[in-house]
Amino acid sequence: MSRNIYVKHRPAVIGAGLTLFRRRLLETPKELAWIAAKQALEEAGLTLKDIDCVVIGSAPDTFDGVHMKGEYLADGAGGVNKPVMRVFVGGATGVMVPIAAWWHVASGHCKTVLAVAEEKMSDADIPHPQAVFRYIWDPVTEVPLQPNLIWIFAMEMHRYMYKCGVKKEDIALVSVKNKRNALDHPAAQVAANITVDDVLKSEVLVWPVQLLDISPVSDGAAAFVVASEDIARRQTDTPVWIDGVGWALDTTSWTNRDLAFPEYANVAAQMAYRMAGITNPRKEIDVAEVYDPFDYKELHHMEGLGLAKKCEAPILTREGVTQRDGDLPINPSGGLLGVGNPIAAAGTMKVAEIYWQLAGKAGKRQVKKPVYTGLAHAWGDLMQASTVVIMRV
């Protein structure tokens, strides 16, 4: 792969939007997509007429219960009579959206991209949307065993705890931090002021995963506008550049992997760092939104992304480094554990948060230290995919 440092049409995020993240929202998926898209356009000071291309992100069609969901969402996402491209890498879709938007603009094919991610999970299956995850496995070797998604994460969490000697108390700190951060987020679904004890006493789902270790079922949409340099400079004084993109997909055979360390996150991050010219991520990244559907995952991913050494993330968390006023704020938005987890939209919410943080528009959520470089990350498929973007002011 050649590294082209002279991307002619340098893409920047110039506006973002978000719906409320809630369970059982009454809006249709199309309406959710449009609420977020409209906000993003307003912040960017553009109208649909100014948009060249649309990128849609949405995870399994089964959640919304619509086949060819990209086609269905096209009008809600503002894509009528426009080129619409949907990308899909399971849970990592939310950050694949800015990556695809990046190449739409960096290639010169489009000057402005409206990127929209939507997910409506609560419609899926009765009694619980979890049932959708029955159909994500290898149809021959795994489906007959009727596995449950939380099982394999329990295994991974266990393995991580064993390999790194981490206690549940340390992991619970992540949940406490993120849910508290989310108190300042107007869209948050499960913000709360809780203690480590509350987490440890919550219902056990699959040991060691407990109710407060895990993100909720959510509906919601998130959107942002990406524009090429000339338009970005015209529209705003605070464009936030997408300077690095990276993603990787590991093997489908999750059983054959080292569960204690997310190699795929490392590969994805290295690709993005190389492109953005980052050699020491721990020092050069000022703020990060790391995918946290489970509390241990934030730690796991920090290590994979090189924001902490192996087994170091729990220590950084205990020392308060990852707090909003710490040296390396992680998930200042409140993350999936606090704001909610409408799969694709949750990842895109993280991109929006990094945009707002770097543009200095995060309001009460603004981190204490000055920030210039941020990272957004999402993770998905069978513990197999990671997507990373590096953004800069």
């Binding site: 792969m1 491209m85 694949m96």
Partner: protein, 404 residues
Amino acid sequence: MSRRVAIVGVGWYGFRPVVEEASFREMMFEAAVRAYEDAGGINPRTDVDAFASCQEDFWEGIAIADEFAPEPIGGTLKPVFTTPGDGLQCVASAYMMIKTGQFDVVVAESHAKPSDIVNMHDIILFAMDPITTRAINMPNYHAIAALEAQAYMSRYNVPREALAYVVSKDKRNALLNERASYGANITVDDVLNMPYSVSPLTRLDIAPFVDAAVVVVLAGEDVARRFTDTPVWVDGIHWVTEDPSLEYHSWEFPRHAMLAAETAYKMAGIQDPIKELHFAEVDARYSFKELQFIEALKLAPPGEAHKLLLEGAFDRDGLFPVNPSGGALGEGVPLEVHGLARLLNAVLQLRGEAGRAQLGKAERAVVHSWRGVPTTTSVVAVLVGDVDGELAHNYFPTCVGNTY
């Protein structure tokens, strides 16, 4: 970086009503191996920078089908992603990725096994708006196409003979195509004498399904010659989605195909497609769609395609051959692979490797795909053989969307 993008390798597997001997992953593997061999024996682990896979969850029967993309095409622990869309949309993504200058070689893949799908009709119902159209619970989803056919035929006075002519032409062309499973030596009368399935369409007017996998290797201009002596250039590619709701989009004229074609032609510097191009591979999931798309791609004025067709203009030995491969009616519809199937046929023609189906003059082509009912997405690509590279390529727009 405005470098040209080339197709340097193609590989396929299947194109049979039922591929019994291989799973979808094995089909992907077979197609990928052939494509990598075609690209001069590249190693996907080291020579390919990224992979794009086009598939839809519901077709696969797997909730996150993306999980199964990496291994069969050699993409494990590399940048792989899925677009739930037509295979040509993956080519479009690959095109843009190479244009950024960050990627040199990108692979586009698509696969389909409709023979595994036991409830096709229900799945298509799930593609309709859950509140408005799905609730109608139409007994045969081809009815949507039939309504469009009625609208098109009455608006432009298209006789049924024209539809039958398309079927007869495509199925005969398919007899010369080694991949085509549905070739037949049938006449216009054979089609006219069939009973209607959904008026005005007979069973022969509706393309059957086929299992297939196609893999395409794309590379930037500066590296393409490393892999092949016969690159086929992608000089224009664009995709457009019209209003997806049945109620609001035009049934008479596929505006999505026209908008996509206009931009693709502009990118390739084509002013008069019928004069500057030599043949077309267009979507013909339904016989009348071929006529609609001929008009949308500006190969005939609106409403005139049937007249030219009946004069033989679109025959394989006519003025401007359309679907010399037999198209979807002759080769079958491999779901999301369909666009890549059209592209594959065009690439082989442009390289002069189409065997018995080879046309006399095939240097520049337009390739088109639509995603079937009830969708309104078209992708159009302009492909140029290596013979007159410098001639066609004199114009690089910086932006193809709206002029902001």
